[in-house]
């Protein structure tokens, strides 16, 4: 719009003057354009701002300017090539020209724009081209012309603030009917897997019992790894359970999930090396075993040897729900653990006879057991329980070096442990040992030819026997000391044949030094120590339904420091 000078005045820049009769001055005559042109300019501002002009609203120009509607435009171009049309059209780009562009396509690289005055680049405030995704579809880009290019002033990268994007993750329901396999068919189909691919699957049909795989839209089985796993145990039973909705993340080789933390059904795992057993208990650290779950760990036939771990065990067992775990060895074909003492050679309690018996018994035991832990000449234990519940150890033979190694133990219960059909032979110190406050239960377990004691309990520990035997050990068959206690077959309805045997040991059958030993249905005889059943230093020994050769102190008598023996008949 041009300036409109008073009517009849040639000077295009002449001012308007008022008329004054007192001095006989004529006022300026306004031409029609002086009224029309400003009104049209203002009405254009209002209408181009998307507002309908109204005589009842005299703030419409302000409202139009505030709305910035004239700078808003919708992209009609293609990917990376923005095209917008403004009203009124732009004839030339000027410094500071702002545009608010609704982008139609997500960019995949550098971007240009034509806003009516030619195509120019869109760049970041630092002058670099946009990267893929910087302009998301249906996002609003705020662009300002700097004389050469349009700068994207709401860029969310290094020059801007964080961007929140609400993205729907692909989801489908598992259609597999095979255990340990997840079949995920997405619509639209996922046609390729690349590192970083992420999706969710609702497990519908099966729970895994061992290593699980996923097949995505027929692209082939990929292994499923649980966060926190290790190489030997990438996936544990119950990691994927019916009804779970799991997020799967692909790393280029395998899918990772945050697995279900519970084992809810009976599962069986197989180990054949010490490393596998150790890694399994490590991996189990992320699992709980519910009341409906149980875990059986089957150890293959073979020898399991040191080195010892930090707890000085070949294998340390630890799990909060260890009482729902069975660690089971393998027996030779058709064989079972020794049922009682009668299958052992027991010819005498002196070193020569014990040595001869030991050789026969080793051969006898190796003909039965196929899973054998072999200790070396260093202190340590074959299997040590650290808690939390009482783990079940079954059908395992521990062989020691058959000479003295102080501090060497076959089965070490520093927390509760339940041994079934296990045997310790030739261990350097003690075959089975319970340390306070652990509770070690031994069902049909045997200790033979150990370099000191067959079974031991100390420091408030408790040792229970159901049958079993201890024979040919260099010192006591059983030693209960320093506040510990032991019992055996606590019932009225057995026979001696079914009970515990502690015979032919170099020391006593049972020694209670400051401990309490109460035996039922036990046979203690032919031991080389001061007595078959011996109490010392406030120790207490008691028996019912037993067959005991010699006893000290005498039944019903009090020995040194209140040590006593009680015969319940």
């Amino acid at each position: 719009m041009k300036y409109v000078q008073p009517y009849g005045i040639s000077d295009p820049n002449a001012p308007y003057i008022n008329g004054d009769p007192s001095i006989a001055r004529q006022g300026s005559i306004p031409p029609a354009a002086a009224f029309e042109h400003p009104m049209r300019e203002l009405v254009n501002v209002i209408t181009k701002s998307g507002i309908t002009p109204s005589s009842s609203d005299l703030a419409q120009v302000a409202e139009g300017i505030r709305s910035q509607f004239m700078n808003y435009c919708v992209d009609t171009g293609s990917v990376n090539t923005l095209s917008v049309a403004l009203d009124p059209p732009i004839g030339a780009y000027t410094f500071g020209l702002p545009l608010h562009v609704m982008v139609h396509n997500t960019n995949t690289g550098a971007v240009t724009i034509d806003a009516g005055a030619g195509r120019v680049p869109v760049r970041k405030p630092n002058g670099t081209d946009l990267a893929a995704g910087d302009l998301p579809a249906f996002g609003l880009a705020a662009l300002v012309y700097d004389g050469t290019v349009f700068q994207m002033i709401n860029f969310g990268g290094a020059g801007g603030g964080p961007i929140t994007i609400n993205q729907t993750i692909p989801y489908c329901v598992d259609s597999s009917t095979s255990r340990n396999l997840v079949t995920a068919n997405f619509t639209p189909a996922i046609t390729t897997l690349v590192a970083g691919t992420i999706f969710m699957v609702k497990i519908a049909n099966t729970s895994n019992s061992s290593q699980a795989y996923i097949n995505v839209n027929g692209l082939g089985n990929k292994p499923i790894y649980a966060q926190g796993c290790n190489a030997n145990w990438p996936c544990l039973p119950g990691d994927i359970q019916v009804g779970d909705v799991l997020v799967f993340t692909y790393d280029g080789t395998r899918f990772w999930v945050y697995a279900n933390p519970a084992i809810n059904e009976t599962a069986t795992l197989y180990c054949s090396t010490v490393a596998q057993i150790r890694d399994l208990f490590s991996a189990l650290g992320r699992k709980r075993i519910s009341t409906s779950g149980f875990l059986q760990i089957i150890l293959a036939a073979g020898y399991y040897k040191p080195p010892y771990d930090d707890d000085l065990n070949i294998v340390t067992t630890y799990h909060p729900d260890a009482n729902r775990i069975n660690l089971i060895g393998t027996m030779n074909a058709g064989q079972s653990p020794p049922p009682n003492a009668n299958v052992f050679s027991r010819s005498g309690n002196d070193p020569v006879h014990r040595s001869n018996d030991a050789m026969y018994n080793k051969s006898m035991l190796e003909s039965r057991y196929a899973t054998i832990f072999q200790l070396d000449s260093n202190p340590g234990a074959a299997i040590g329980s650290k808690g939390g519940g009482a783990i079940n150890i079954q059908n395992i033979l521990v062989e020691g070096p058959n000479f003295s190694v102080i501090g060497q133990v076959g089965f070490s219960a520093r927390a509760n442990m339940y041994c079934i059909g296990c045997t310790a032979w030739g261990v350097g110190d003690i075959g089975f040992m319970a340390y306070g406050p652990a509770h070690l239960s031994c069902a049909v377990c045997h200790a033979c030819a150990c370099a000191s004691r067959g079974f031991g309990a100390t420091g408030s520990a408790q040792l229970d026997f159901q049958g079993g035997s201890s024979e040919g050990n260099a010192s006591h068959g059983i030693e209960i000391s320093h506040g510990a206690r032991c019992t055996s077959d606590f019932t009225e309805s057995l026979t001696l044949d079914q009970g515990l045997y502690s015979t032919h040991n170099g020391g006593c059958g049972l020694s209670a030094q400051s401990g309490f030993g109460m035996l039922w249905w036990a046979t203690l005889n032919t031991n080389g120590g001061p007595a078959d059943m011996y109490a010392w230093n406030m120790g207490t020994i008691a028996e019912r339904h037993c067959s005991i050769g010699t006893v000290s102190p005498a039944w019903g008598a009090e020995g040194n420091l209140n040590s006593i023996s009680i015969n319940y008949g």
Partner: protein, 156 residues
């Protein structure tokens, strides 16, 4: 104050340096000599006992030179008690006094049966004297560990 114990060791271990303690009872507790078969009994102070360790095979044993620690007076009393109990001693004194009051101090005039009984008791008193002499002369000696060092008891 040291506590003394009646210690039973295997008779075959009497000459051993560190015999295993088969049984051990407080000095004042009555314990039959045959409580543990094939054993010998000694009165020893607690210091004569070695607590069980791996070196002792996890059983208590006696210290080196344990024989020199045998308490001679208690051992003597034990021998006397076993052969001429205190109650028998008092009874013999009562019977002797009664015989003297009844038959006079000349023993040759006592009836034969009373005189025979007096001779039997005299043998026991001689045994007591002999035990006392052994206690006095062999206190602190290893010989006390051997039953041969003690007087032969009179026939009962």
């Amino acid at each position: 104050m040291s506590q003394n114990y009646q210690v039973f060791i295997r008779s075959t271990d009497v000459g051993a340096a560190n015999p295993v303690v088969v049984g051990m009872y407080p000095e004042t507790r009555p314990v039959d000599n045959d409580t543990h078969a094939a054993t010998s009994i000694y009165m020893l102070p607690i210091e004569a006992i070695v607590q069980p360790t791996d070196a002792t095979g996890y059983v208590p044993t006696l210290v080196d030179n344990w024989q020199s620690m045998i308490i001679a007076s208690s051992m003597g009393a034990m021998h006397v008690e076993a052969n001429f109990a205190l109650s028998a001693q008092v009874e013999s004194l009562r019977e002797t006094v009664e015989a003297m009051m009844k038959y006079g101090t000349d023993v040759t005039k006592w009836p034969p049966d009373v005189r025979t009984k007096k001779n039997t008791v005299d043998e026991k008193w001689k045994y007591v004297d002999a035990v006392k002499e052994t206690m006095r002369t062999k206190a602190g000696s290893h010989e006390l560990a051997s039953s041969k060092s003690w007087p032969t008891p009179p026939k009962q």
